[in-house]
C-alpha cells in the first residue's frame, strides 16, 4: 500500500543534501537530509525563511544543481539522469525568470515552445492567460519586474504541464497580480494539475495551498495538510465574547470547561465541534454570547514559531518524517 502511495507522488526527495564548497571558506550546507513527498494534485506550498534551502531544493529537483547526496525524482524520473524523459510535462519558474531581453514576450515563448512543438495559438493563449497579450510584441528589455514575472509564469504554463514547480511566483507583482496568481494556482489545481510553489507570502499560501512543508536550516520541520500544520498538534480552542467576562469564566469553570481570560475575550480549551457545551453552560447562568468562533492560527504564527532561532542556532529537531500521499 505504501509503495502504491509513493508511486502516486509527483515529487519525491530522499535524503537530499546539498553542500556548496567555496575556495578558502567553510562549506555551506544549503539542504541537510531533506525527505519530502508531494502527492499528485492540489497546491503544495514550500515555505521557509531566506536561506532555508527552498530554492536549492527546487534547483536540485529540476536538475539545475547536483545534490551532494540523496535523490530527487520528478514524475518518477530521477532528476539527475532521467529528466529529459519527463521535462515536457513539467513547467517551472526558478526565482526571477531568466528571459531573452532582445526578444518580444511572444518570441520568448515561441522560441522555447518550438522545442516542444508548441504552436502560435498556444503561445497567444498563454500570453492572454498571464495578462500580457497587449504587450506581447514589445521587447522584454522594457518590461517591469511584474511583467517579467508574468512572462516567467507564462513560460512555465506554456507546456500545459501536469506538474508546475514555481519558486516565488508572486515576486514583484502588485496586489492585483498576487490575487491573479492565487486564482491561477487554484485554477490549475482544479484542472487536476499539481502545483509545487515556494513562497514568502504566507497569507497567500494559506489561502491557496492544500498542503505545505516548512523548511528551516536546510531541513523540513513540518509538513502536511495546511490545517494539520496550523494546529501543529496543539489543542484547538474557541474564542468567546460576552458582556461580563468574569461571570462567564466562572460559569464555564463550574461546568468543568477549561478557560482563561485573554485580552477582551475568553479562550476556551475545546475543539470547535464542542462549542455547544459552551453555549449551554453560559445560558444556564443567563449569560448570552456576543461572539463564539474557533480560534484562528495563522500560518505566519506557525511559521515563525517553527523557524525562529533555527537559522542562527542550527536545527533543534530532526527532520520531519516524509509526507506520504493519502
Amino acid at each position: 500500500m505504501l509503495l502504491h502511495l509513493w508511486a502516486m507522488a509527483v515529487v519525491e526527495i530522499e535524503g537530499l543534501r546539498k553542500e556548496y564548497r567555496r575556495f578558502r571558506h567553510r562549506p555551506v550546507v544549503a539542504v541537510d537530509g531533506l525527505d519530502l513527498s508531494v502527492p499528485s494534485g492540489g497546491v503544495f506550498g514550500f515555505l521557509g525563511p531566506n536561506g532555508s534551502g527552498k530554492t536549492t531544493t527546487i534547483r536540485c529537483l529540476l536538475g539545475l544543481a547536483r545534490p551532494s547526496s540523496g535523490t530527487c525524482r520528478l514524475l518518477g524520473a530521477n532528476s539527475g539522469s532521467e529528466l529529459p524523459r519527463v521535462i515536457g510535462r513539467v513547467g517551472s519558474l526558478v526565482e526571477m525568470p531568466g528571459l531573452f531581453p532582445g526578444l518580444s514576450a511572444r518570441k520568448n515563448l515561441a522560441v522555447l515552445g518550438r522545442l516542444e512543438d508548441i504552436g502560435a495559438t498556444t503561445v497567444q493563449a498563454t500570453l492572454e492567460r498571464v495578462g500580457l497579450a497587449e504587450r506581447a510584441d514589445d521587447q522584454v528589455r522594457g518590461f517591469s519586474l511584474g511583467m517579467r514575472q508574468r512572462l516567467g509564469i507564462g513560460i512555465a504554463l506554456l507546456k500545459d504541464p501536469e506538474l508546475l514547480v514555481l519558486d516565488e511566483p508572486a515576486n514583484g507583482l502588485d496586489p492585483a497580480g498576487i490575487k491573479e496568481v492565487r486564482d491561477l494556482l487554484k485554477g490549475l489545481a482544479a484542472e487536476g494539475r499539481t502545483v509545487f510553489v515556494s513562497s514568502h507570502i504566507l497569507s497567500e499560501v494559506q489561502q491557496s495551498c492544500d498542503r505545505v512543508a516548512i523548511m528551516s536550516g536546510g531541513r523540513c520541520v513540518r509538513s502536511g495538510p495546511v490545517d494539520e500544520v496550523l494546529s501543529g498538534g496543539r489543542p484547538t480552542g474557541l474564542v468567546v465574547k460576552l458582556a461580563n467576562l468574569d461571570r462567564g469564566l466562572s460559569a464555564l469553570t463550574e461546568a468543568g470547561i477549561a478557560a482563561h481570560r485573554a485580552d477582551g475575550f475568553l479562550r476556551v480549551d475545546l475543539p470547535a465541534a464542542e462549542a455547544e457545551r459552551v453555549t449551554r453552560a453560559l445560558v444556564r447562568k443567563r449569560l448570552y454570547l456576543t461572539e463564539l468562533r474557533p480560534e484562528e492560527v495563522s500560518l505566519e504564527a506557525v511559521f515563525l514559531e517553527l523557524t525562529s532561532g533555527r537559522e542562527q542556532g542550527g536545527m533543534a529537531d530532526g527532520p520531519a518524517a516524509p509526507e506520504v500521499a493519502e
Binding site: L64, A65, I87, G98, L99, L103, L115, E116
Partner: protein, 309 residues
C-alpha cells in the same frame, strides 16, 4: 536539435551587440569605400605614360641645372644632396614620382586578408558574448528547464555562435568587395582578376572562415568556463599581451605553439609566415582547430558538472 539551433540563432541575432556590430561594420565599409573612391582616379594607360614622360623630362632638366650649379653637393634651394647617390636620384626626389592612383581589383585579395584580423576579434567577442550574456541574464536556467541535456544545449549555442560569426564575416567581405567595385570600375582596372585570382580569393575567404570559427569557439569556451563575457575578453587580451610577448621574446623554441603566429600563417596562407619557422598553413589550421576543440571540450565538461543558478 534543429529547433534548439534555430532558437539559439534567433536569440543571438536579436542581441543588441550584434546589431551594433553590424552597424559598425556597415559604417566602416562605407567610409573605407568612399575614401578609396576619392583617393583613386580613373586614368588611361596613355595618360599615365604621358605623365611619366613629362616627369622624366623635368628630372633631366633638373640634372642639367644642378650640374651647372657652383656646388653640386648642394641643391639650388641650399639643401645638401650628400644622401643621394647621384644628381638624377636627387632630382627624381625633387620632381616627385608619378604615382598610379588607379584602384586595381586584383588587390582585393590583400584587402580581404587585412580585414580578417578585425573580423577575428569580432568573432571572439560574438563567441564570448553569446554564452556570457546568457549566464548574466540567467536565460541559460530557463533554457535548461526546457532542454536539460546540457551537452546538446552547449553544442547548439556554440554552433549558432559560429554560424553567426561566419555569416557576419562573409557578409562583411561581400559588402566590402561590392563597395569597392565602383572604385575598380570607374577609377581603376579589373585586370588580373581571372580564374586563378578568383581561386586565391576563395582560399583567403575559406582560411578566414576557419580562423573565425576557431576564434568564436575559443571565445565561447573561455566565456563558458568563466561564466562571463568580460572574463573571456580579459583572458584573451592578457594572453596576447603577456604570454605571447614573453614566450615570443624569450622562449623562441615555443614560438610555433603560440596562437598569434599560427593565426598569421593560416590567414596569410604562407608557410613559415608570422615568424613561425617551419609551420605550414595546414599544420597551423589543424593546431588552431585542436586548441579550439580542447577548450570547448573542457567547457562542455565544466558545464555538465556545474550548478546553474
Amino acid at each position: 536539435m534543429t529547433a534548439l539551433l534555430a532558437g539559439e540563432l534567433r536569440r543571438l541575432l536579436s542581441r543588441r551587440m550584434i546589431r551594433v556590430l553590424v552597424l559598425l561594420a556597415v559604417a566602416g565599409i562605407v567610409v573605407a569605400s568612399v575614401i578609396t573612391f576619392f583617393n583613386t582616379e580613373g586614368v588611361s594607360d596613355a595618360t599615365l605614360r604621358r605623365r611619366t614622360a613629362e616627369a622624366e623630362t623635368r628630372v633631366t632638366r633638373c640634372v642639367q641645372e644642378s650640374a651647372r650649379a657652383p656646388n653640386p653637393s648642394v641643391s639650388p634651394s641650399g639643401k645638401p644632396v650628400m644622401s643621394f647617390q647621384d644628381l638624377r636620384e636627387m632630382c627624381r626626389f625633387r620632381v616627385g614620382k608619378v604615382t598610379d592612383h588607379r584602384f586595381e581589383l586584383s588587390e582585393l585579395k590583400g584587402i580581404l586578408q587585412g580585414v580578417t584580423a578585425p573580423l577575428v576579434i569580432v568573432a571572439w567577442v560574438i563567441g564570448a558574448s553569446s554564452i556570457g550574456a546568457e549566464w548574466q541574464a540567467r536565460s541559460i536556467t530557463t533554457l535548461l528547464t526546457w532542454e536539460p541535456r546540457r551537452g546538446r544545449v552547449l553544442v547548439a549555442k556554440v554552433v549558432a555562435a559560429m554560424v553567426a560569426a561566419c555569416a557576419f564575416s562573409l557578409v562583411s567581405w561581400a559588402l566590402l568587395s561590392a563597395a569597392l567595385l565602383p572604385s575598380a570600375l570607374l577609377h581603376g582596372t579589373t585586370a588580373g582578376t581571372g580564374g586563378g585570382w578568383l581561386r586565391s580569393v576563395g582560399a583567403v575567404v575559406l582560411r578566414g572562415e576557419l580562423m573565425i570559427a576557431i576564434a568564436t569557439g575559443v571565445g565561447f569556451a573561455v566565456a563558458s568556463i568563466g561564466r562571463n563575457t568580460a572574463a573571456a575578453l580579459g583572458v584573451g587580451f592578457a594572453y596576447f599581451l603577456v604570454i605571447e610577448n614573453v614566450v615570443g621574446n624569450y622562449l623562441a623554441g615555443y614560438r610555433r605553439w603560440l596562437i598569434l603566429g599560427n593565426s598569421i600563417v593560416l590567414i596569410s596562407g604562407k608557410d613559415s609566415g608570422g615568424e613561425v619557422a617551419g609551420r605550414s598553413v595546414l599544420v597551423a589550421g589543424i593546431y588552431l582547430s585542436a586548441v579550439a576543440v580542447v577548450l570547448l571540450a573542457v567547457a562542455v565538461m565544466a558545464f555538465q558538472r556545474r550548478d546553474v543558478g
